[in-house]
Symmetry: C2
Subunit: 253 residues, 2 copies
DNA sequence: CAGTGGTCTAGACCACGGT
DNA sequence: CCGTGGTCTAGACCACTGA
């Protein structure tokens, strides 16, 4: 056959689509601009809508796009760097930290958290809910598990739940010194409640940061924070305090 | 109507499916066990295959399942914790680090890396490729960008590329002291080459760890490491050196 | 209300791994 | 070669947003 058939590598359509769209995003679109709707885009590229969506999903995962039901698909700004704390100053409730206490209720922690706290499987602990806002947008939801033994002075007179009690627990926690912490990051998908707090759909990809706080040789508290994976880049400033700048920044045209 | 219709929240089928499967995974399956194939599973649950796949995709994202084309779907072991280094001892090439140098070639770095290196946009740097293996399985692929100015002693006699040169560059890097580092973690999708190194399909979710190494007041090297998000939990041991144990561990039945 | 993205279906064919 | 997961299609309906 006369055709110059060098297509020995049948790249999936959605993958090729993603490449094409990425380039278009880099060169022809400004942050915030809205894309044509999925049906039009699919028709324009000559693929089924499901195939186009596969490409869009990846781009959203990479933080290049933002899709909202009933609204449309827009070009996302570069990911924001959110500091997950160098070693110092991250004891929960420290002044000026980025978290906003929302609630506090007693509950039995999930098995893995209970193990880290070395608590009995059915032992209930204080669970402080906090959210974190950055650049005017919610970026993380946290569950902070605090055994009663870490906050013995917690007055029974304080409100049994609600923001007031959350602040009380954090205040008590402050009075403990702390010798160190231990952090892990993994990929997860948003539970229904986290999704609502983060203004995303359930199952949205999140970065789960599990932190163990040590005090007096034992685990005084465990924090499980879920960050929006699409909009956040977690930064760990170990020593140098310099900012990392990323990606091309384009606005308006 | 007499129906006790409290289904005001029509949960998506794939979401419900995921819940059911998660519970089954917790209670009825052992690590390594193979699941029925997708067509059978879909039929068993009375949904289309695409819907079932949506649930499986999420479970794979969460590290609960592992799917391999031509083989089947198996129950994944709990994620392995991989240390991404406390402050000390992570200078690239340190003895006993977990990385295996694979190659080294000169190339011009991507724009964002160039910016971090404060190098000219078209300036070429040494690019060291390394891979990291843990528990017998590849977990990460790294590109380490080293400007020539960081390794001035690099002999021109050394091989112009290949593992030997990679080791030579790391050796030279070792001779620089370093004052700190700066780390960021974000979600990405595997490029074709990374995917191959990680034994995954292109587009697979990865955790991208960008590290800047400082020496003599400037950025001496930049590392971009992509970790398999499905199998890895990145650990940052700030001070306490204790292991985090996660999730229920089940083997055989 | 019209338009958007989100869910779902019932097929088809392909690429790969092992036998 | 067969069986697996991966890709793709052309529809349909639903849930949400904003005018």
């Amino acid at each position: 056959m006369g055709t110059t058939q060098l297509e020995t590598a049948p790249e999936p359509k959605y993958w090729h689509l993603k490449t094409v769209l990425t380039e278009a995003l880099d060169s022809e679109f400004a942050v915030g601009e809205i894309l044509p709707n999925e049906r039009d885009l699919a028709a324009r590229f000559g693929v089924a809508r499901a195939t186009l969506r596969q490409a869009l999903e990846q781009l959203e995962l990479e933080g290049r796009l933002q899709r909202r039901r009933g609204v449309g698909t827009t070009v996302a700004p570069p990911r924001m760097g959110v500091a997950v704390g160098s070693a110092q100053g991250t004891w929960p409730g420290a002044v000026g930290d980025a978290w906003q206490p929302a609630d506090c209720t007693p509950a039995v922690p999930p098995a893995d958290v209970a193990r880290m706290l070395a608590s009995l499987p059915d032992e209930s602990v204080q669970v402080v809910r906090r959210t974190r806002v950055s650049h005017g947008q919610p970026v993380a939801a946290e569950l902070l598990y605090v055994p009663m033994s870490s906050v013995p002075e917690l007055s029974a007179i304080d409100a049994p739940s609600g923001p007031a009690r959350a602040r009380a627990v954090l205040r008590e926690l402050q009075r403990l010194g702390f010798e160190g912490q231990d952090r892990a990051v993994e990929l997860g998908s948003a539970r229904a409640d986290d999704a609502k707090a983060l203004d995303r759909l359930p199952g949205a990809p999140v970065l789960v940061v599990t932190t163990r706080f040590f005090s007096e040789g034992r685990t005084a508290a465990v924090s499980v924070a879920t960050y929006r994976a699409d909009t956040c880049r977690l930064t760990f400033g170990d020593e140098g305090g310099v900012e990392i700048h990323h990606g091309p920044e384009r606005r308006a045209s």
